[in-house]
């Protein structure tokens, strides 16, 4: 006798309704577990990409070109000049933008205080796509263009120097001939990088203006940003092919801590999923076993009228798969709904400095990735089948005569 699958599914569905209460409870448990996993996965992804983005946006870029000696001796003496018309060898679809910068150590003095910073000569137009400088909140004005000879300070540094926007500061830094240059800069504005360490570390001015002060045509770095979804490794290989003696470093090499956290997130997602599924499985297995044990007589009867052991297994698996699919579908819909609900982000400003330590902004925005959802579906079905394996095996082991002889 062969039973069509349709009939088995129909039978399974009706069987589920025989124990409405507990199956609804099991459904609810699967639903909650899946919804929570989808939401937390999206949150972890949000954290992960936020960490990468802030690492990339704090002047690191997806990748950077340096003269070989610059990282040991970060001065204009380790600058380089790009050939006329040079472009990074990146397909236009992958390239978000690129820029050249002059980045040198400098001393800043106000009337009262002295601080050391990295003075960065930028082209403000390019920075819009390159770094936090394009989007950061500025008190006062921003830099106009690469010839702007005024200086933009972080608000924390401004406070430490006890000076104000519009006042002058003195900058001392080393010129291309190795001798110190001393020049007055008007403070054009202060930027608010949400209290992060960037505010103390970086001061900005126009690139051409800084090159003039240092008597050079050279720059110290080229920063390249890619669009989301660009294959970093492939671009890496293409660009490095074409840069001669210059050193090409990607953000993983420039920000090893952020890169380690990025990798760690991939593991965290799996660990969380496993923990939730283990917690769920106790209830799942328990309910499924009971569903088999209390129907021993019924299975015996079915066997007696000619149902084959394989079909009994299928029968049990169909029931557990149905309930798993229902919970999974609902849970995923609810999880996606929750991520949409939180799409504006969760406010973390109470932990502002703590999240900076792990390289986050002060809002946590979930980021739903289809790969993760697919993974949840696949693993849940897999675990569901494993969970129903034992009950199904018990159902097959039922001896027809014993079963029918049993009292209940």
């Amino acid at each position: 006798m062969t039973m069509p699958m349709k009939l088995l599914v129909q039978l399974g569905w009706r069987n589920l309704w025989r124990q409405r209460r507990r199956n609804i409870m099991l459904l609810a448990a699967i639903f909650v577990a899946v919804a929570a996993v989808v939401l937390t996965n999206a949150l972890i992804r949000g954290v992960q990409y936020d960490m990468r983005d802030s690492a990339v946006r704090n002047l690191t870029g997806n990748m950077k070109l340096y003269a070989p000696g610059y990282r040991d001796d970060p001065s204009i003496l380790q600058g380089f000049e790009l050939a006329e018309g040079w472009q990074p060898a990146v397909a236009p679809a992958d390239l978000l933008g690129w820029t050249q910068r002059v980045s040198v150590p400098a001393v800043i003095m106000s009337e009262r205080e002295t601080r050391g910073v990295t003075l960065v000569g930028v082209s403000p137009q390019d920075e819009r796509t390159q770094s936090f400088l394009g989007t950061v909140a500025i008190d006062g004005e921003g830099l106009r263009d690469a010839d702007d000879g005024r200086i933009l300070l972080g608000s924390e540094l401004l406070a430490q120097l006890s000076t104000q926007v519009g006042r002058r500061v003195v900058v001392i830094t080393q010129g291309a001939d190795g001798l110190n240059r001393e020049a007055g800069f008007k403070v054009v504005g202060s930027y608010d990088a949400e209290g992060t360490g960037l505010e103390k570390a970086f001061a900005f001015t126009g690139r051409a203006a800084l090159q003039k002060l240092l008597d050079t045509q050279a720059v110290t770095e080229v920063s390249i940003r890619l669009n989301d979804g660009a294959n970093e490794t492939a671009v890496d290989a293409a660009v490095s092919h074409d840069v001669g003696a210059l050193e090409l470093l990607d953000w993983r090499a420039l920000e090893p801590l952020a890169a380690a956290m990025y990798e760690y997130s991939n593991v965290a997602i799996l660990v969380l999923f496993l923990i939730v599924m283990i917690a769920l499985s106790f209830g799942l297995v328990n309910t499924l076993i009971t569903a088999v044990m209390e129907r021993v007589r019924e299975f015996g009867m079915l066997r007696a009228i000619g149902m084959r052991p394989g079909q009994i297994v299928v029968q049990v698996l169909v029931e557990s798969t149905l309930i798993m699919l229902l919970g999974l579908g609902g849970g995923i819909a609810a999880g996606i709904g929750l991520t949409v609900l939180f799409a504006d982000g969760i406010d973390l400003s109470n932990f502002a400095q703590g999240v900076e330590m792990v390289g986050l902004g002060s809002r946590l925005t979930p980021r739903l990735m289809w790969d993760d959802v697919v993974l949840v579906v696949e693993l849940s079905i897999f675990l569901g089948l494993i969970g129903s394996g034992y009950p199904a095996w018990r159902a097959v082991r039922v001896k027809v005569l014993d079963a029918l002889r049993r009292g209940t």
Binding site: A36, V117, V276, A279, E356, T408
Partner: protein
């Protein structure tokens, strides 16, 4: 299954029950074992929740201890004594007078591991043609060796000994182009507003791995600093490291120091405290989720139990047991179940944590190597978290009977006649 129930009930009343234990408690325990597999699975869920909470919290507490200690030992210590305004306005003028006398008084307190006074100022440092701004720190070298890991982070050369020795951060050395034996000139503003100037020789270059420190720090003997900046026996801070971080409050209570201000590690390193809070918030969400799932499973277990035993309950009622007594019996079963699960979870987690506390959880190779250079352990030693253990136990002992209560309520609606007639 009634076949077993028939034997289970009379047996429950038999001899081995300790005197004074109500019969119903013993019956509840026996009932639990009428369906072994189900009890093991349900209590397994309870045990898993307890195990997860205890192990995760213990490992985190161990990590945080290392993290706080790591950060505190680098420079800032567990608690500092400062001029009341210095924390908000670190100006040269906000000093502590008689710093040496106060330091001695603090060092005499129990639980104090090391005490060091420091004076700090930003100034211009020049080596040859290059100059850069740095954070000058006047320190007591012997005290720093006991208090801070910075002396151990000297990558080249040695730590401070003579009056003209200076050590500088590795990034600062790079920026200045300074090497061992180079003369450095410091130019700054003295306490009275005049020029502070001094010359020293680089004897050591430190690399802590903390960017802010490596980029800005320059240490010199305190006496040299005091002379250059026009200080008497004064300092900006007295830094204290304790044997155990929990002793901060005791120290502050023992030495109130009127007119001065104690600043704790939480204020000195708000980023670390917030990161700990953030991580704890994340963990508690996960614990809540796992506890909820286990609760669902308990609910189902009791729904099944009640359903299967309707006839038994009818029998009990027919021979005179009141419905609320049956409910009480089911709740006792839930409590036994929770207790059993909690015991297993507690035993397993405590055994694991105590073992790991001996062996340590090795950190990744990179992190471990970085910690080693700072004289810190390259492993995390979990610290058994008693609050987590008791918290998890309490949570389960409350949640399980609650989850069992709802399906058990059904027994109140039963009448002996309908119950006995129920066909399974």
């Amino acid at each position: 299954m009634p076949r077993e129930a028939a034997t289970a009930l009379p047996a429950a009343g038999s001899a081995r029950r300790p005197r004074g234990t109500p019969l119903i408690v013993a019956i509840a325990w026996r009932n639990l074992w009428r369906n072994r597999r189900r009890t093991w699975l349900t209590s397994g869920g309870v045990a898993f929740a307890v195990f997860l909470i205890v192990v995760a919290r213990s490992a985190t507490v161990g990590t945080f201890d290392v993290m706080i200690d790591n950060a505190a030992r680098l420079l800032v210590g567990h608690v500092q004594l400062q001029h009341p305004r210095y924390a908000d306005d670190p100006s040269l003028r906000h000093t502590l007078q008689d710093a040496t006398t106060i330091s001695r008084a603090i060092a005499a307190q129990p639980g104090v591991a090391a005490v060091a006074q420091r004076a700090q100022a930003f100034a211009l440092v020049a080596v040859g043609e290059k100059s850069f701004a740095a954070q000058m720190m006047g320190v007591d070298p012997d005290a720093e060796r006991r208090l801070s890991t910075l002396p151990a982070a000297v990558r080249e050369g040695r730590y401070l000994e003579g009056p003209h020795d200076v050590v500088i951060g590795s990034a600062l050395a790079r920026n200045l182009g300074a090497g061992l034996g180079d003369e450095v000139v410091v130019l700054g503003t003295a306490r009275d507003g005049g020029v502070a100037a001094m010359a020293g020789v680089v004897v050591g270059i430190v690399e802590t791995g903390i960017n802010d420190v490596d980029r800005t720090v320059m240490q010199m003997p305190l006496a040299t600093f005091q002379e250059a900046f026009g200080f008497g026996d004064e300092a900006h801070m007295i830094v204290v490291r304790l044997d155990r971080i929990g002793e901060v409050d005791a120290l502050m209570a023992a030495l109130p120091e009127p007119g001065l201000r104690w600043v704790t590690w939480q204020e000195l390193m708000p980023d670390i405290e917030q990161m700990i809070d953030l991580k704890m918030a994340g963990q508690f969400i996960m614990f809540g989720l796992v506890a909820l799932l286990v609760t669902f499973s308990v609910f189902n277990t009791f729904a099944m139990t009640v359903f299967e035993r309707v006839r038994e309950f009818g029998m009990l009622m027919a021979i005179g047991m009141r419905p609320h007594r049956i409910l009480a019996m089911l709740e006792l079963e839930a409590l036994w179940l929770a207790l059993f699960g909690v015991m297993i979870g507690a035993a397993l987690s405590v055994a694991l944590v105590l073992t790991l506390a001996q062996v340590g959880i090795p950190l990744g190779a990179d992190v471990g190597a970085a910690f080693k250079t700072l004289n810190l352990p390259d492993r995390i030693f979990p610290v058994l978290s008693w609050p987590a253990l008791f918290g998890a136990a309490a949570l389960m002992l409350i949640a399980v009977p609650l989850a069992g209560f709802i399906p058990a309520l059904r027994t109140l609606r039963l009448t002996p006649v309908t119950a006995l007639r129920t066909q399974l």
